[in-house]
């Protein structure tokens, strides 16, 4: 458990890749993940989209996102394989478990805060929102001088 990390892999296929090639590559990735005892959590095909700049001679690309659990060896192998495949014009593999954990913790903390406020009968909104409202007043009406 400790060494199974969650990664997000995005790869861009050249725009001339056929549907068949896209599914082929997907099954290839899937099998590599399976070989390294990883677990594929999600696959998303974003389809063809215009890239912000030209890569090689391409202006468009087919984006595919794979979310999986696995070890460092697995990502190394995927990286190596994707580099070799000519159809793949760009790929990026990012570890996301820690960031997601932090995000989840923040969310839980905020939820707990809201719950506490509700229990106490305090207004739910939180300090940042209030301060913004105050500032809005100061800007328009200049509250400070009135006082």
């Amino acid at each position: 458990m400790s060494d199974a990390r969650q990664y997000e892999l995005v790869y861009i296929l050249s725009p001339d890749a056929t549907e068949q090639e896209i599914t082929d590559l997907h099954t290839q990735v899937e099998s590599i993940i399976a070989r390294y005892q990883g677990e594929l959590l999600k696959t998303e095909n974003w389809g063809r989209r215009r890239m912000a700049f030209r890569i090689g001679k391409h202006r468009e690309g087919t984006y595919v996102l794979e979310v999986f659990k696995g070890t460092g060896d697995l990502t190394k192998e995927l990286d190596r394989r994707l580099k070799v495949i000519d159809n793949v014009i760009r790929h990026l593999c990012v570890r996301v478990d820690e960031e997601l954990r932090v995000a989840e913790r923040d969310r839980a903390r905020r939820q707990a805060d809201v719950d506490r406020r509700v229990a106490k009968g305090l207004p739910v909104g939180g300090p940042p929102r209030r301060s913004r409202d105050d500032d809005g007043d100061t800007d328009s009406g200049d509250e400070t001088e009135v006082r």
Partner: protein
């Protein structure tokens, strides 16, 4: 409390104006529009700045596609750091440009 914040804001503004030689130039601008900047991500309660969401990142890379500095956008330090990594990742995937001409 409101007074304290006001003074603090004035100090910040004064530092900015100190860079300019002409103090008269800064004079009339005092208290004109010094909007308190707020972090978009804090107010909207965004926990995770996703590099895949190019639309969300777009406002932070204007025109030349440089990352918008915090002093302009008002994003807090923590979120600016996260935003920075997100933008850099998005660039690698050609979701955002490195530079535009």
């Amino acid at each position: 409390m409101a007074d304290g914040r006001r003074t603090g804001g004035g100090g910040g503004g004064g530092r900015g104006r100190g860079d300019k030689k002409d103090s008269e130039k800064g004079g009339p601008r005092r208290g004109m529009f010094r909007r308190k900047k707020i972090c978009k991500f804090c107010t909207e309660k965004v926990d995770y700045i996703d590099y895949k969401d190019a639309k969300m990142l777009m406002p932070f890379v204007p025109e030349r596609a440089k990352i918008l500095p915090r002093r302009i956008s008002g994003v807090c330090a923590m979120h600016q750091r996260k935003l920075q990594t997100a933008i850099k990742r998005a660039r690698q995937l050609a979701l955002l440009p490195y530079a535009t001409d």
